[in-house]
Amino acid sequence: MVNNQTKAGVPLALLLFSFLLFAFSVENLFAQKISKCFVSSDLPDGRLYFIKPMKGFANGGNDLVFDITYKSKKDSIVFTFTYFDKKELDIDSLLFALGNKIVCCPAKKLYVDVSKSKWEYRYSANLLFSDLSAFFDQENPPKLVVAAHKEHVELHIKNKMWEKQSSIVRKIFKLIKYN
C-alpha cells in the first residue's frame, strides 16, 4: 500500500517540477522583468536609480561594461563604464552617436587596473537625461566611441543585444519619467 502511494507520488512530483520549470521559462521569455535590471532608493534629497551593469558594446575583443546612475533632483545621468583593452590608453572622453549628432562627455578616471592580459579602465561621464534617453531611443544599434589622447576606439553592439538592452533601458527611463 505504502509502496503504491510512493510510486504514485513520483510522477506527481515530476509533473509539479516540470510545471514550475515551464512557468519560470515562460516568465523569462515573455515578461521583461526590468525590476531585475535596476535598483532604486528613496533618499531625503531625491530618488536614486541605478541600472545594473550591462555589456554588449565591443571592438573585437575589447569590451565595455556600463552602469547608469540617475538622481531625480539633479536630473542628470552618471554613465560609469569599464573598458578593457590590451593597449595603454589615456581616455579623456566618451562619445555617444545620436544619428548625425555626437554627444561628447568628458570622462573622469576612477581607476586603472589590470585584468588578465588587458588593462581595465574605469571611468565615469556625466550627461543629460534627455541625451541618454535619445541614445537608447535609436532603433539601429548606435556606436560608442572611447576617445583617448592619441586615438579613438569605436565600439559597436549586435542587433539582438541592442534590441534587448535598449528596450530595458527605455522602460526604466519611462518609469523614471512617471515618478
Binding site: 541605478f50 576612477l110 574605469r122
Partner: protein
C-alpha cells in the same frame, strides 16, 4: 548516486534573510551609516553554479571602488537562487 547527493547537499546556497528551496529573489538591507546623502551607487556580485563553482568579488571594497564612493550612506543586498542550482549574490553600496 552517493557522489551526486554529496554534491547537491551543498547546492548553491546564498546569503538571504529568507530562502526558498525552489526560487529565491530577495532584496534586503545590509548596513546603514550616519553619513548623509548619496549620489553614487556601486555594485559587486558573486555567482555560484551547482554549488561547485563559485566566483566573483562581492566585497564592499569592490563596489565602492567601482563607483568612486568614499562616504557610504547605506548598503543593500540582493540574493537570487534558482532550484539551488544557480545562485547570485549582489551588493549595492550607496554613498558620496
Amino acid at each position: 548516486m552517493l557522489v551526486l547527493v554529496a554534491v547537491m547537499s551543498s547546492c548553491a546556497m546564498v546569503s538571504s534573510p529568507v530562502m526558498g528551496t525552489l526560487y529565491t529573489d530577495v532584496k534586503s538591507p545590509f548596513a546603514v551609516t550616519s553619513n548623509s546623502g548619496a549620489s553614487k551607487v556601486g555594485s559587486a556580485e558573486a555567482t555560484c553554479i551547482l554549488g561547485i563553482l563559485a566566483t566573483g568579488d562581492a566585497s564592499i571594497t569592490a563596489a565602492t571602488k567601482k563607483a568612486g564612493i568614499t562616504k557610504i550612506h547605506h548598503i543593500d543586498q540582493h540574493a537570487t537562487s534558482i532550484l539551488g542550482l544557480f545562485s547570485k549574490y549582489e551588493i549595492f553600496v550607496y554613498g558620496e
